[in-house]
Each structure stands twice: as C-alpha cells, then as structure tokens.
C-alpha cells in the first residue's frame, strides 16, 4: 500500500462544495474496497491562497487513486506518490 497525494486546482471552490466532493470520495473508496481494491481517503487540505486542494489517499497503486477520483467525479491536476513523515516516528 502506498500513500498518494492528489492535487486539485479548484478556483472559486467553496468549502461546501468540497464537503460534497468529500462525501463522494468516501463512498467510492468504500465501494472499491468492497470490490477488492482497498482505497482509503486519508485527509485533505485546502490552501485558500492558491485555491489548491491536496488530498491524501492510501491505495495499492496510482491507478486505484486515479479511479477513485474519476468515480467520485472530482477533477484533479496531478497525482503523485508521497512519503509520509510523522513527528512521532522521528
């Protein structure tokens, strides 16, 4: 399982619309997990100044992350594999 960050450029997006998208992402991740591809939406950060959203997913592959976002109908610009660093682990 890897950690992936999905970068979205969503100019003019409201926090409410993000909530709607989040609900869709959550349900699609649950559905894919039930189908045998375990995907989990970990968390997201919205950066008001750049109007970018960074969403972190745990998934077995890049394709699984792409698919969950396509299923949830949430536009994205890039997906990158990421490495998690936690203060407690250092």
């Amino acid at each position: 399982m890897g950690c992936y960050v999905v970068i979205r450029n969503l100019p003019g997006i409201t926090p409410e619309a993000l909530a709607g998208a989040g609900l869709r992402a959550k349900s699609c991740a649950a559905e894919m997990t039930e189908e045998g591809t375990p995907v989990q939406w970990l968390r997201s950060y919205f950066i008001p100044e750049t109007e970018q959203t960074h969403c972190y997913f745990e998934a077995p592959s890049f394709d699984a992350v792409k698919e969950v976002n396509e299923r949830a109908n949430i536009p994205f610009s890039k997906i990158h594999e990421a490495q998690e660093l936690l203060p407690d682990a250092l």
């Binding site: 409201t14 926090p15 409410e16 619309a17 993000l18 909530a19 709607g20 998208a21 609900l23 869709r24 959550k26 349900s27 699609c28 649950a30 559905e31 189908e35 698919e67 396509e70 299923r71 949830a72 109908n73």
Partner: protein, 223 residues
C-alpha cells in the same frame, strides 16, 4: 455503526450496479435515500406517503434498455448526481449543520427534474416548495439521532447503559447488538425476533432474552 448517509449512498451505488449502469444517477441516489428511510417500503415525509415499491418498479422498467451496456463493477457519479451532493452541502451549511445529513440530500432534489423525482411530483402532487416545506419539519426521531451523532437520548443510549434493561425499543436493541435499526425492524417483520406491542399503541418492545437468543455460537466450518 455505519451512518445513515453512508448507508443511503451505498444503496444508491448498489442500485446503479444492479441495473448495470456505468453511472450513479440522480435517480439511483434518490431511490437509495428513500430506501434508507423507508419502513415497509413506505416513506412518510410530511403530508406525503410515498410507495417505494411502486417507484422502484417504475424506475427499473424505464431503465431496462440500459441493461448490459455498462461494466457493472465500476460505477461513477454522473455530473448531475455530483451536483446534488454539492447542493446538499450548501443546504447543510445553511442549516448550520457540520455534516451533510440525509435530509439535506433529499431537499437538494427540490429543484431537480430527474425521472424519479418527476414521478413523485406527478403522482403525489409534490412541488419544489412543498418538498422543501415537508422536509423542513421532517426528522424521524430515531433516525435523526443516529445520523447527527447527537448526544444520548432514550432512543440511542450506549450499549453499556442498556446492559441492565429488560425491555428494549427497536432502536435500543440495534445499539445493544451493534446493528442498524433497520436490521432489527427486518427481524421483527420476518418473525425472526419476537416483539411486544404496548396495549393500544404502536410502540414496540423487545425482551432482552429474545435479543440474546439471536446470538448463536459461530462454528468455523460453517459456510
């Protein structure tokens, strides 16, 4: 315990898959929402008594031509269904709610023209205003408590608090066994679980021993 909104959305996705649709449409979403709050295939919202059985039949019939066209394993939200989520999120915000509730998703359909909602309009005389008005006061007590995660009420006490009780309401029984309230109602409906009626009233009570009798030893060789 899965919350009501998640249950409803999963039901919508299942509905789309069952019909071999590539998309989760607004119709799938609305049926999933209504299924989740239905009792005996009936949904009571304000003055409207909606027969879900009839509605589902009509929907399946109208969608039959689509069967086999899509990959049943992968369904994505349609743009219009996605817009319903966004509108529901705005409704939740206006409602000062920190979470999108089932009522927000339902009220988001008020201005929609999808087939299932159009049928509701036609059959029950529902208009956008009437729908919003009916939903503005609609909050089935037991369902609402679970959905919002509100603090303990007589309907949603913790399992620990319920451990000394002799008689349970269906919602308390659901908490006690950590299952969805509709599971308990289904057991009662099919006779799997005995329930008692308070004389002259609708309220049901379940005896503690009858609940415990539902549990049986798990044997690993069982399939």
């Amino acid at each position: 315990m899965e919350d009501l909104v998640s249950t409803a959305i999963r039901s919508a996705i299942k509905h789309a898959k069952r019909r071999k649709k590539a998309e989760v449409t607004r119709d799938d979403l609305l049926i999933g929402l209504l299924q989740t709050v239905a009792r005996f295939e009936i949904v009571q919202i304000g003055e409207f008594t909606i027969d879900l059985e009839e509605l589902e039949e009509a929907h399946t019939e109208a969608s039959r031509d689509d069967a086999g066209r899509a990959d049943k394993q992968k369904v994505a939200y349609s743009p219009k269904a996605s817009a319903v989520f966004d509108r529901a999120a705005r409704m939740a915000k206006r409602d000062n709610s920190s979470k999108i509730g089932i009522v927000h998703l339902l009220v988001a359909f008020a201005s929609e023209d999808n087939m299932v909602f159009a049928r509701l309009k036609e059959k029950y005389g529902i208009s956008g205003v009437k729908w919003r008005s009916a939903l503005s006061t609609w909050q089935p007590a037991s369902l609402g408590m679970i959905e919002t995660g509100a603090k303990v009420s007589s309907a949603t006490r913790s399992a620990k608090e319920l451990s000394d009780k002799e008689f349970f309401t269906p919602d308390e029984a659901a908490v006690f066994l950590d299952v969805h309230p509709q599971t308990i109602r289904g057991y009662i409906r099919t006779g799997k679980l005995a329930a008692l009626r308070l004389a002259g009233e609708r309220a049901l009570r379940i005896k503690r021993n009858d609940l415990l009798a539902l549990l049986e030893p798990y044997r690993p060789e069982e399939r």
